[in-house]
Symmetry: C2
Amino acid sequence: MEFDLEKTISILSQTPSTLAAMLNELPDEWLQKNEGGDSWCPINVISHLIHGEKTDWIERVKIILSDEKEKNFKTFDRAASIQSNGDKSIKELIAEFNYQRNQSLDYIKSLHLSDKDFLKTGVHPEFGEVTLKQLLATWAVHDLGHIAQISRVMAKQYTHEVGPWINYLSILTR
Amino acid sequence: MEFDLEKTISILSQTPSTLAAMLNELPDEWLQKNEGGDSWCPINVISHLIHGEKTDWIERVKIILSDEKEKNFKTFDRAASIQSNGDKSIKELIAEFNYQRNQSLDYIKSLHLSDKDFLKTGVHPEFGEVTLKQLLATWAVHDLGHIAQISRVMAKQYTHEVGPWINYLSILTR
């Protein structure tokens, strides 16, 4: 599929309500358990999404569209992104993500981006030159990746409860 | 995490509304593209979930709890499960899944299952003896697996649009 702004926004728009439907009514145990070690639980993933909304995606869009000569992105601090939840409930966190995402999308829509804009570039700290269109496509795929991750992390809590069915459930052995 | 009926129902209950939030407003292109070959698109996955609700999960619960001597499960026909959508829209399909799932959960709740029931067994065509508790845990994990699958299938439509970010997006290379 080729990049298209409307199609990209259709994915970005649904993520907060998908996460709300998926997680808001679940007991804490599903939300606070991870895949072991320093891996992330579903609550951590929501914190990470909020952090990205506040510090990363729109920030990078602005760098690409700016008139500055230097268009280097800052490195996104993945570890910092899951701190400072305080004691917020899942509903509060997802409501915050929803608010931030709406702000982000309102901003994107206000730009009235053209095909020419999509080819403008910034400089990624690791990959070098990237286009606005690659950034926006990545933003949507990043959402979908984290929805899949949350599903996987929760599924794994039942790894020992499914018995021999583990052979059919590839999500448990990934 | 140990098996618990309430916790299992909390996952099974959220799946229809999660899928509705995720898919109902998306353009058809996201819903009808697969991962290549005879892999499934998101629409196929919903058809499969409806089929499971109608022919598989509750059917197997009933076999386990029956007084019959023979407690063999029928083989679940995965290929058949994605046929016969007719021309239903995504909203119609998810509404149908929602209806069937509610029927299934109403039935499960009406059984007032006890710890003793959870250890009752049926015979899986491939694995042999399995318990009711393994069946119910598998049902929930199966939902989560398909939510992850739908996320992955949609994400992959943008594989060529994310540019060098493919290196960070493990969902695209799975």
